[in-house]
């Protein structure tokens, strides 16, 4: 029976991840990327793959370590702590969850390529300013044995560099998921200048040809394979956000202890103490929802919606509180680009929107709890 405590293996994984990231991918690394006009560092991702993290959800026979979603969340948490810019969620969580459900040799070799870092994926799903997969209008018209895709996607996270795109489109018989190489004729990618300095793209599809082989799962039945992958992604993103909140909080707590004002450390002022303690409580409560989502995805993945939406909703409100308190408690210095807190605030905003915002997930909870 699994409990809401890290197993020894998980704790070891999380500890080693923290050690690596503090060294190889501190916030400074994201700043350097941004200042050099890049959003992604392939060398970092290669090192991460070499450590096996990209295979955390991949079966051993496909080159993975198969530790499950709770463990994936712990890696995401650590990456959130230092704002490491990697395609972990897009490739190692979302794409892998889809491929694993599909099974077969092709999926197996694709997973092996993800585990080794050879292939990266991005999920092209949003078409407007809000996450709403069911409202997808991008068309995939039947043409002979294949399809012709036309339409525009936006906020495709990691879409600027990914080798392959997972594209949700609407056929006559309903929503269908395609896997396309990102250099296929008719696909145009435009980088978005994102506030979190991470990669995202608008992608235009102009009469892009797809064969039956490009379809993942059944035509007209995308959600059967996509839903579990979205939930895996949402849970991992929630975990990343909980790490972000923890990172911002640690920085703030350090500042409260060190910064003096009116002759005292500002952390000795009771009002700030109470606010810091309240924030810590929120972070602790969210941590429970995150770990629970991982456990449920591992144990009972077809009944995970409540646990996952709970985690994403809580992670969103907690991360936003953490960065708002972080900036405010730092005062002027927290507003400067020179200081790292702003990176946390901007990433928190982007993660709040990705894969469904607070309102979206709150409605999922409400529906499942009959409110």
């Amino acid at each position: 029976m699994s409990t809401l405590v890290k197993t020894e293996d998980e704790a070891m994984l999380a500890d080693s991840a923290r050690g690596f990231l503090d060294d190889a991918a501190p916030v400074r690394a994201l700043r350097d990327l941004r200042d050099s006009g890049r959003a992604y560092d392939p060398a970092l991702w290669k090192r991460i793959c070499d450590m096996g993290w990209a295979g955390v959800l991949i079966p051993e026979e496909a080159g993975g370590v198969d530790m499950g979603h709770a463990a994936a969340g712990m890696l995401a948490h650590e990456m959130g702590r230092t704002l490491a810019s990697t395609p972990f969620l897009s490739s190692a969580v979302i794409a892998v969850t889809i491929l694993r459900r599909i099974g077969g040799e092709r999926a197996k070799s694709a997973m092996a390529a993800i585990a080794s870092g050879e292939l990266t994926y991005a999920l092209a799903i949003d078409e407007a300013h809000k996450f709403a997969p069911e409202a997808t209008t991008m068309s995939a018209e039947r043409q002979g044995n294949g399809f012709r895709l036309s339409g525009d996607k936006c906020f495709v996270v990691d879409g600027g560099f990914a080798d392959r795109l997972l594209v949700l489109a609407r056929t006559e018989s309903g929503l269908t998921l395609f896997e396309l190489p990102s250099d296929r004729t008719g696909i145009t990618r435009t980088a978005q200048d994102m506030i979190d300095s991470r990669d995202a793209a608008r992608i235009a599809f102009e009469d892009v040809e797809a064969t039956g082989d490009d379809v993942l799962g059944q035509v007209g039945d995308a959600m059967t394979i996509l839903k579990p992958a979205l939930e895996a992604g949402q849970a991992a993103l929630a975990a990343e956000m909980s790490g972000l909140a923890a990172g911002a909080f640690d920085m703030t707590l350090g500042y409260l202890k060190e910064r003096k004002q009116f002759g005292q450390p500002i952390g000795s002022f009771q009002a700030l103490q109470h606010r810091a303690a309240h924030l810590w409580c929120e972070i602790e409560v969210t941590a429970s929802a995150i770990l629970n989502a991982g456990r449920v995805l591992d144990g009972n993945p077809d009944e995970a919606t409540l646990a996952v939406s709970l985690a994403k909703a809580r992670a969103t409100s907690t991360a936003q509180l953490a960065v708002m308190e972080g900036v405010q408690m730092h005062g002027g210095i927290g507003m400067t680009d020179e200081y790292d807190m702003g990176f946390y605030m901007k990433r928190a905003r982007v993660s709040a929107e990705w894969l469904g915002d607070y309102g979206y997930h709150a409605e999922q909870v409400a529906a499942l709890r009959g409110i």
Binding site: L4, V5, Q273, A277, L310, A362, A366, G370, I371
Partner: protein
């Protein structure tokens, strides 16, 4: 960790035991004060079902599932207890017995009591024969619990106790009290305190109920006037009572925090709202949005209680962090009852109106964030002792 198979078997066992032993009338899920069996010498069962349910559950050790069998418990593991509670929840069973003996004194005795004390007191608690109350707070002390003025003079074989306690829950109905008494006045205030067990029937003990804003009087003032307390009735060492009190406060925090939260514990606010008020979603979007947010937070808080229990089971002490459970749980409960009042509208503005005594329940929750340490004290504990922020 226990194997899935053995737990499955245990679940089947509990399910059939409950099926056979839990009276139908006790399956209405009611956990309000008036539905609960508190036990004690003067207890009047509200029904034969209530009596039967206590008798059967305590015979099987299930009033205190995790206590050792020799002390009247069922000796269950944490995982088994979870299963038992899930099965209780499944049939909407009332708890067979609730008491401060179970939730507070018991854990303290298991930690600090002598084997003789445990053999004497614990089984009586498990069977609901003795009802206990808690004597910590004193008039004027407020959050400063260690400023104990009630005094115990050493008279050789006994202490002579004089003084006054306040906020003693149900002292007027209790048989015994566990109380903090100052037994040494010449040392710093946390030092000279002892933890004594006192028979409320002893000469010199009197109580006076305090009427609350809800109209109810769950608390009393309790007076000690030359009460003789035999030396054997101390828990832990003389003048080290603060250790016992602190340990027990942690338990109290967890108990207060867990009132009706959790994925599996308690009914969802949404369900209560719908039942009380028709379809609030259609009628008041603002209320509905607040209810959803409360539900999200309640579910996550419930999981946190589970997680902390799991951590304790795994030997990872949570220590002062339990102040978080107390703070978050009680603030949440206040929010929940504000929303229930809103959902019920004017129906809840009468004492004992068409939706029951919702107002009394609501007003009662306002004490949650005061009793057992205020929210402010909890936040200060967390800031200083968990986050390591400096004193001013």
């Amino acid at each position: 960790m226990q194997g899935e198979d053995s737990l499955k078997a245990f679940r089947a066992e509990m399910r059939s035991w409950l099926e056979e032993n839990c009276p139908q009338q006790m399956r209405d899920g009611r956990i309000t004060d008036d539905a609960i069996c508190w036990g004690g010498k003067n207890w009047t069962f509200s029904s034969e079902s209530q009596r039967l349910w206590l008798e059967r559950a305590s015979a099987r050790g299930l009033t205190v599932p995790r206590w050792p069998t020799e002390y009247g418990g069922a000796g269950l593991s944490r995982a088994e207890e979870k299963v038992f509670l899930e099965e209780m929840e499944r049939i909407n069973a009332r708890p067979p017995l609730k008491s401060f003996g179970i939730s507070m004194l018991g854990p303290a005795l298991l930690q600090f009591g002598t084997p003789e004390q445990n053999r004497h007191y614990l089984p009586q608690i498990a069977r609901g024969e003795i009802r206990w109350c808690q004597g910590y707070s004193e008039p004027g002390a407020g959050s400063d619990l260690a400023s104990v003025q009630t005094r115990g003079e050493d008279k050789g074989d006994h202490w002579l106790v004089n003084g006054q306690k306040i906020w003693t829950s149900y002292a007027d109905k209790a048989d015994w009290i566990f109380a903090l008494v100052r037994t040494d006045r010449d040392v710093p205030k946390h030092k000279g305190i002892s933890f004594l067990l006192i028979d409320m029937g002893d000469p010199g003990v009197t109580t006076r109920p305090i009427r609350l804003i809800s109209g109810a009087s769950p608390f009393c003032e309790t007076f000690f006037d030359n009460v003789k307390v035999p030396k054997g009735q101390i828990v832990g060492e003389e003048n080290r009572g603060w250790d016992v009190a602190k340990y027990l406060l942690t338990h109290e925090r967890e108990m207060i925090s867990s009132g009706g939260t959790g994925l599996s514990g308690g009914r969802a606010l949404g369900a209560v709202m719908a039942q009380m008020a028709g379809e609030p979603s259609a009628q008041d979007p603002t209320l509905r949005a607040a209810a959803i947010r409360c539900e999200v937070d309640a579910l996550a808080t419930g999981l946190t209680i589970e997680r902390y229990k799991d951590m304790a089971e795994a030997g990872k002490g949570v220590g002062n962090a339990s102040a978080m459970l107390k703070y978050m749980g009680t603030e949440l409960n206040k929010r929940r009852h504000e929303l229930i009042m809103s959902a019920c509208g004017s129906d809840a503005l009468e004492w004992d109106g068409p939706v029951g005594n919702r107002a009394a329940d609501w007003l009662r929750t306002k004490a949650n964030s005061i009793e057992g340490g205020t929210s402010e004290v909890m936040l200060t504990i967390l800031a200083r002792r968990v986050l390591g922020l400096p004193g001013s």
